[in-house]
């Protein structure tokens, strides 16, 4: 079985969010870049667990990004990917990114494609669903559990107010979230091995953007907290009722 895991480069979860060039660009100075947590902790680690249970599985990684994505690709290889592809483009439009990945997937014919449920920067939640449309494959979103049962996958997925258990034949696309697996730290053997694992750079196909970022803005600052004494918590209830009118 061949699994493709899509990984995106995002700012660290503690990164300060600020914008440059007249609020048209993310201010990346001094920002630590990581593998998008949903892609790493849930999609990639679950793929690695599947391979540990069945060594015949191979795991390919794909990233649509420029050369500065390579440290996070190497980290994903250190965690346990077998081979990586970097499609050389700076994509911010979901359709553009998904189309680039779909080109690779058409050539390689994967049995399973994993994405994170969304990236923590653009929160688009789009790549998995778009890939399923571009490849005309079934799509199961927001997976919290994934197991292989013969020729089929058994997947738990979040629905509003509960969960659903699905059974789907391969090939398919799955977007992954919390519950799929637990975060791992690469070990020394993995880090050493990652240096020599194949990382192929592919030139991007010419594809038009459906959307473009016009500008960014920060939310308005809060007016400041109104503190109520711990001796009179009922005063808080009064304020929420009379002043904020939310209860």
């Amino acid at each position: 079985m061949k699994i493709l895991v899509c990984i995106s480069k995002t700012p660290d979860t503690t990164a300060k969010i600020a914008f440059a060039d007249n609020n048209t660009k993310f201010a990346s100075d001094g920002v630590q870049w990581i593998i998008n947590p949903y892609d790493e902790w849930y999609a990639l680690v679950r793929a690695i667990e599947l391979k540990e249970a069945n060594p015949a599985i191979s795991i390919h990684l794909v990233n649509v990004g420029l050369a500065d994505s390579e440290p996070i690709i190497r980290k994903a290889l250190a965690l346990g990917g077998d081979e990586a592809f970097r499609i050389n483009a700076d994509g911010s439009d979901s359709f553009y990114v998904a189309s680039q990945i779909a080109n690779l997937a058409k050539e390689k014919q994967y049995d399973l494609i994993f994405t994170g449920k969304e990236t923590i920067d653009f929160n688009g939640s789009s790549i998995g669903a778009m890939l399923s449309a571009l490849l005309d494959l079934p799509f199961v979103s927001h997976a919290t559990k994934f197991d292989v049962d013969g020729e089929k996958a058994v997947i738990s997925r979040e629905i509003d107010g509960g969960e659903e258990i699905n059974k789907v034949a391969f090939p398919l696309v799955v977007s992954c979230q919390k519950g799929m697996a637990e975060q791992r730290i690469p070990n020394m053997k993995g880090i050493m091995g990652a240096r020599t694992k194949p990382l192929q750079v592919i030139e991007a196909a010419s594809i038009s953007n459906y959307t473009s970022v016009v500008s960014f803005e920060m939310p308005p600052a809060k007016a400041g907290v109104k503190l109520v004494s711990a001796d009179t918590p009922e005063e808080l209830v009064r304020l929420l009722h009379d002043e904020a009118k939310v209860i």
Partner: protein, 321 residues
Amino acid sequence: MSILVFIDQSEGLLKKSSFEAACYGAETAKIMGTDAQAIVIGECKEDLSQLGNYGISKVHHITDNNLQHFDAQVYSNVIFNACNSIGAEVVIFSNNTTGKAIGPRLSVQLEAGLVSGAVALPNLTNGFIVKKSVFSGKAFANIGINTNKKIISVNPNSFSINKTNNTATVSSLQVSSTSSKVEVLAVNKVTGDIPLGEADIVVSGGRGLKGPENWGLVTDLAELLGAATACSRPVADVHWRPHHEHVGQTGLAIAPNLYIAVGISGAIQHLAGVNRSKTIVVINKDPEAPFFKAADYGIVGDAFEVMPKIIEAVKKLKSQS
């Protein structure tokens, strides 16, 4: 040319987020000088003409045996066919789990640019620009859609429902569908609970509550307020509470009217998931907890002493009203 709103339902009942999407579609239609129509897929227990109250002129109801349960591939194919039959140029979804699964698929099929997580109406003064939430609620981006057809998915609780008194015409629409490749083995609903993403009020607990046995302080208050319950990431990680309650950067991002955080310090990752809440209340014994900087109201005190008093005061308030 028309605007088509996808109306999501759960077990035959229309969702609140669907009414928000309908109102968003109706307001967008006004800006564009057209009307807003709706599409409902699958059997529904409710009277669909009520969507007129939310600005919908016409409801297209599609039912067939392939649509008994949700499947992103089957549903997006059906909506694609419906868009062509109706001549829809702009399609509106709620950005809930259903909308996230279909919207991007439809975007590819319709060759329509998608903005997911919209928080405001489109601005048509210079192109077609939609403001959306980015960096998990820490900022906004204004996104221009370059394609002729457009898809917008609206963040739940970001757009207020403006109810009027109108009736929509309802007709069934025949479009071809494909059979599902997804077999549903089981559906496990958390019964009686309010879906976290849609809740007006959320009461949330953190490590400060010391253990799952103390969660009555959160659930009792939530029950009195008709609120959903949530928790911080460490609490879900140690399995004091289920994963689906985790709000924050890597959990669910929510925007209720009122968010009450008990024993949560307010790490930047947690704030990212809740800072779009309209009113934030923080109860924490550490006056230096970063959450107080993001809060509207706060109590510096021990949750184990403060919460029972709050619960009593809410009981009293509820008995008077």
